[in-house]
Subunit: 469 residues, 2 copies
């Protein structure tokens, strides 16, 4: 039996947030069974506090900040990176009050980094500047590896400083000088295809080599945003965002594709085959809402052309675009992320609003599912904060065609799953979703409630093109 | 009757946080009755979300981000400023998708700022850099006024740029160039006493001139933190933090003193007299804990010399130091803020922990109260997130001596206060505290529950030097 791989969402709002129930972008990949090998993708403001706010689940461990060993940054927008400084302050630790003064810039004096950070050009400078401007000093160290496109400027990894000047490392105008908690990283150049391959080989840990990590630029938006000419400017001034692909090297060879903000992720397609993505996490910032879902017209009055114009102008995707991309790369499971703040997340203990929020959420999923057109019973899932998704095993492993799938919302009990139930569900999608928020408001009508690590639970699919009155 | 003035706490944790129930530093002053005249002091990471997370109170309005017109920053540490970028993104608004391209640097093209930001040297550059590095562009504008000490470097307000180069404003390496959402501010120099007086005169609004705002450096810690020689270095490399004083110009002339992090706020004393502070908000990062409060020794095993050494080395105050300063400036009301993350905030619906957290909190208050030695029945209050404190009216206005005070925890009902109850309480302290979190866990034994704007409620004082077994 393959070990479980999961993704937990710490923030699922677009930059229009944070909202009451959604923080901005951050998620945690647990691909190697914890043990200081949690990997984070993006770190919006408030991410550190999301660790503290995690709901207490019975029989489920909480994510620990201190176990994050890698951080992957998709792009330099505020709703994806403004939490890194506080996060680093917390995991790197404050210096002990009897610790010696900051070392000179001689690298040999520094400890091995406890977190590896990967991201676009500018990230190294961003962290140096924020740590220096806020006079932050830490006990441990970090390292930044920048993924550089052909024309990206190079921020020196380790520029020379005057070792005889004790202030040289703390002068906050020396942006290009290493921070006293930083060790020099690598500049990772794109290959001839414009892709970054095997960006995080780990020769020290046998476990880490179980996952090979690739990355690709995906189109978000231009540096200049004259939106009436958006399409011209997106071409003239591309501001690439990064999508990351996590490939399990050996059996069962699961593949997880996590995209940053994008209106066109097609450059990543070469990394999305052989095998196909087991799990695709795609942004879905905006969407039309069906009149049946919102008969008051609060959200449904916006028509497709207007929604498309705004979404594309800001460099984002609609739910349907996410579904179309899932279809293009033949994804086995699709989770919608980076949800616009106009779409309410279901709230606990608010009977007046739950019903509407639930209907809207299911409408978002339906739009994506319709465009995706997955096998019967599969459907897109809208991410919620604190939701945990199990990466499904490849369907071909079951040796049973999808026509054999059987679903039930009542015959399978999360409290006492039978072997029959387990086998049924492993056929259904080999995937599970858990979220305290979600479960609290949706009962068993939407999500799988997890009792094991990925194949037990209660599952009820959305019927294709079902209408909710 | 004087109009109500209040302070609401959005974040009360020291930099060791955020914790589950405390975000890091930020508070809101409502001194002019709302109406786009809310003033914020500090803006830690997560402050924007705290607005969304405010508890819903019956008959009480929620604070709105959009009503914040001034932001006062005490110092440049991460736990006080890392939320400003997200906060600005939210209140300044995203540009409309059909808005014209960013204007050239000609100031005449810019709108009047909707928020005035005051803070130390470096703040202007910090915001420019973060907004530029995160490619943030906004519909409205902000302005930064820096409070400069004699030797502080000057970051130019409005350095020249080449107006014929359309990229000059968006080149994210031009740190000294205005951000496209910034208008030039002022450099406010300290006077001969080293104080900044009347820093925010407002000639446009008749209402704003009701409050005169002064500021003073207070000692936090040195730029270099070789802590075994802390006291030497604090003197050699002072890193001033700022305390702000808000003076009501006319009757009843209330005065609110809000300190940033400090181990010695004495430079602000000249601003704390005539009249004395109606409300002093003082940091209290650490404290000893009485053995009677924590018989398991989890918090009480740390002895005074060790606590003092650590606290002073990091440039902070203990609860007793806060009380001593309240005594020194003869403060009428003392609220302890910036609480160390080791001291648990009371939680709702957690019967196992409430009792211990409550006892610890009352112990913190007792230590400060003992050092303060206020009139009978007055006591220090530990701030909690979402607590709202009414600024008391000067006691001399009551024309009744403190010996006339009568307290009761049972005879005065918040639900139906009688006129007798009201007059009793107005004598007690002319002040009220409200906090959903607090009320939920403390019943009527600790706080005043507000039904009006400052004089009704339930009040039970801590008896001096009372022991809790």
């Amino acid at each position: 039996m393959a070990h479980p791989m999961s993704v937990s969402f710490l923030g699922t709002s677009s930059g229009g947030g944070p909202t009451e129930n959604r923080n901005c972008s951050s998620l945690i990949c647990d691909f190697l069974g914890g043990n200081n090998n949690l990997w984070m993708v993006d770190c919006a403001e408030g991410t550190t506090r999301q660790f503290a706010l995690q709901p207490h689940r019975q029989n489920a461990s909480r994510l620990k900040m201190s176990q994050v060993s890698k951080l992957f940054v998709t792009h330099m927008h505020a709703d994806h990176i403004m939490g890194i400084t506080t996060f680093l302050r917390n995991i790197l630790g404050a210096p002990r009050i009897d610790s010696p003064p900051p070392p000179s810039n001689a690298i040999s004096h520094r400890r091995a980094p406890i977190i590896q950070i990967y991201g676009p050009s500018g990230l190294r400078s961003f962290l140096r500047q924020n740590l220096k401007m806020t006079f932050t000093r830490c006990e441990n160290t970090y390292v930044v590896h920048e993924l550089l496109c052909k024309d990206d400027p190079v921020i020196p990894c380790n520029p020379p400083v005057d070792e005889h000047d004790p202030m040289s490392g703390s002068d906050f105008k020396d942006w290009d000088v290493l921070h006293c908690s930083e060790v020099p990283g690598r500049d990772i150049r794109a290959d001839n295809q414009g892709l970054w391959r095997d960006i995080a080989p780990d020769t020290h840990s046998r476990r880490a080599t179980q996952i090979q990590i690739h990355a690709s630029p995906i189109l978000h938006r231009g540096k200049l945003m004259h939106i009436t000419r958006a399409f011209v400017l997106l071409t003239l001034y591309p501001e690439p965002c990064i999508g990351y692909v996590f490939n399990e090297i050996s059996y069962p060879k699961r593949k997880v594709v996590i995209l940053g903000d994008t209106c066109d992720p097609s450059p990543i397609i070469p990394l999305c085959s052989n095998p196909r993505p087991s799990l695709l996490i795609h942004e879905a910032t905006d969407s039309t809402i069906s009149p049946e879902t919102d008969d008051a017209g609060r959200l449904s009055k916006r028509q497709l052309p207007d929604v498309m114009k705004t979404t594309l102008a800001r460099g984002h995707s609609t739910t349907s675009m996410a579904g179309e991309f899932a279809k293009l790369v033949n994804a086995q499971m699709l989770v919608l992320n980076h949800i616009g703040s106009r779409f309410p997340a279901p709230r606990i203990n608010d009977n007046g609003q739950i019903s509407f929020a639930r209907r809207v959420l299911e409408d978002l999923e339906r739009h994506a599912t319709d465009a995706w057109d997955p096998p019967l019973g599969h459907r897109a899932i809208v991410a919620l904060d604190f939701m945990r998704v199990q990466v499904p095993l490849p369907m071909r492993e079951t040796n049973i065609s999808t026509s054999n799938l059987v679903y039930s919302s009542t015959s399978v009990s999360a409290a006492g799953p039978s072997s029959v139930a387990i086998s049924t569900l492993s056929l259904a999608q080999s995937s599970t979703v858990e979220s305290d928020t979600l479960n609290s408001v949706s009962g068993n009508s939407r999500s799988v409630e997890v009792t094991g690590h990925g194949v037990q639970g209660v599952f009820k699919p959305t019927k294709p093109k079902r209408k909710i009155g």
